[in-house]
């Protein structure tokens, strides 16, 4: 990877254009399209993950040889995000009770079924 000797930072420009396009796409999906809410949420979360990948791989030099071929950064980010997913999904799973949302779809996107428990609160 002779990135640092290139005159023109082509990787950065591709990454930048891609992230702008993905942001606009996500904004359009959320605000301009009339897809079902669940599809919108799944779609824009996927776009967010792709954008995070662009930042990590195209901007943060994650895979360059000097950082051990990206071995350490990749490990750190991978385990960080696995923990993050467990914390977010686990919290939603354990904490979504005794509350019915007034909106048509539950606010929590990971929530598949509405729990209708009438625990007195």
């Amino acid at each position: 990877m002779a990135e640092h000797s290139k005159r023109f930072p082509i990787n950065h420009i591709i990454g930048f254009v891609l992230s702008i396009v993905l942001t606009l796409l996500a904004a359009w999906a959320a605000l301009g399209s009339d897809l079902p809410v669940k599809w919108i949420i799944a779609g824009i979360m996927t776009l967010a993950v792709i954008q995070a990948g662009i930042q990590l791989f195209m901007f943060m030099h994650m895979t360059e040889r000097e950082s051990g071929g990206g071995h350490v950064p990749w490990n750190m980010m991978f385990h960080g995000f696995v923990l993050a997913a467990i914390i977010v999904a686990g919290s939603l799973f354990t904490m979504s009770f005794g509350f019915t949302h007034d909106h048509d779809d539950g606010g929590s996107h990971q929530q598949e079924e509405q729990q209708e428990e009438h625990s007195g609160h």
């Binding site: 930072p9 990454g15 930048f16 824009i44 967010a48 995070a52 930042q55 990590l56 960080g80």
Partner: protein, 201 residues
């Protein structure tokens, strides 16, 4: 592509200390991912629990949020360009692009402060409901990170002006670039799961 000796390759990786510092910073970033995940989890759990305060769909405005997102995305890009110049050995290019990055970061902060003030005038404050507490904690923690990043970068700019590019200063600049890109990663998730979902649901 020949094997890199420590006499070539990026300046910030040439010393053992530089390599270890960068490795350590990745560990810090992993911890930051987990820190923010707890805030995201709290926000997701408390979503919709606005009590008597306004609901997010009434207050979130696509325009200002998109402007903030583009400011931060662009600043992440210019920060990448700054590192590109650093690796070509140009202190002037590095400092110029770093200053542009900071101006964009300040613009982002300005909009965020304006946004918070605007929301609190509409009756959504830290105290008004569980939802808004979670919102301000999440967005505010990110804002504090941006503020710290700006202060940190200003100090580094002073050091760069005094010392130029050495293995030490280039390692420091490389690390703050990782930090800055990382803040953009967090913002992408705030933009998507807080603002966009808040406006959809």
């Amino acid at each position: 592509m020949s094997a890199h000796e420590l006499k070539s390759g990026p300046l910030e990786y040439r010393t053992q200390e530089g390599q270890m510092s960068i490795l350590g910073f990745w560990i810090f970033l992993a911890a930051e991912v987990v820190l923010f995940s707890t805030l995201f989890a709290t926000y997701a759990v408390l979503f919709g629990r606005t009590a008597d305060a306004p609901v997010p769909g009434e207050l979130f405005e696509p325009g200002i949020v998109l402007v903030m997102t583009f400011l931060l995305l662009t600043s992440s890009f210019t920060c990448g360009i700054a590192i590109h110049h650093m690796r070509r050995g140009s202190v002037k290019g590095l400092m110029t692009w770093l200053i542009i990055t900071l101006i964009l970061g300040l613009g982002f902060l300005g909009f965020e402060i304006y946004e918070f003030v605007h929301y609190s005038h509409e009756g959504a404050t830290l105290q008004s409901s569980a939802f808004w507490s979670a919102f301000y904690t999440l967005a505010g923690t990110h804002g504090v990170h941006v503020t710290l990043g700006i202060g940190w970068a200003v100090l580094l700019l002073i050091q760069l002006a005094k010392r130029g590019l050495t293995p030490v200063t280039s390692r420091k600049v490389f690390i703050i670039s990782l930090y800055w890109h990382f803040l953009d990663v967090i913002w992408i998730f705030i933009f998507t799961s807080v603002y966009l979902i808040g406006m959809v649901v």
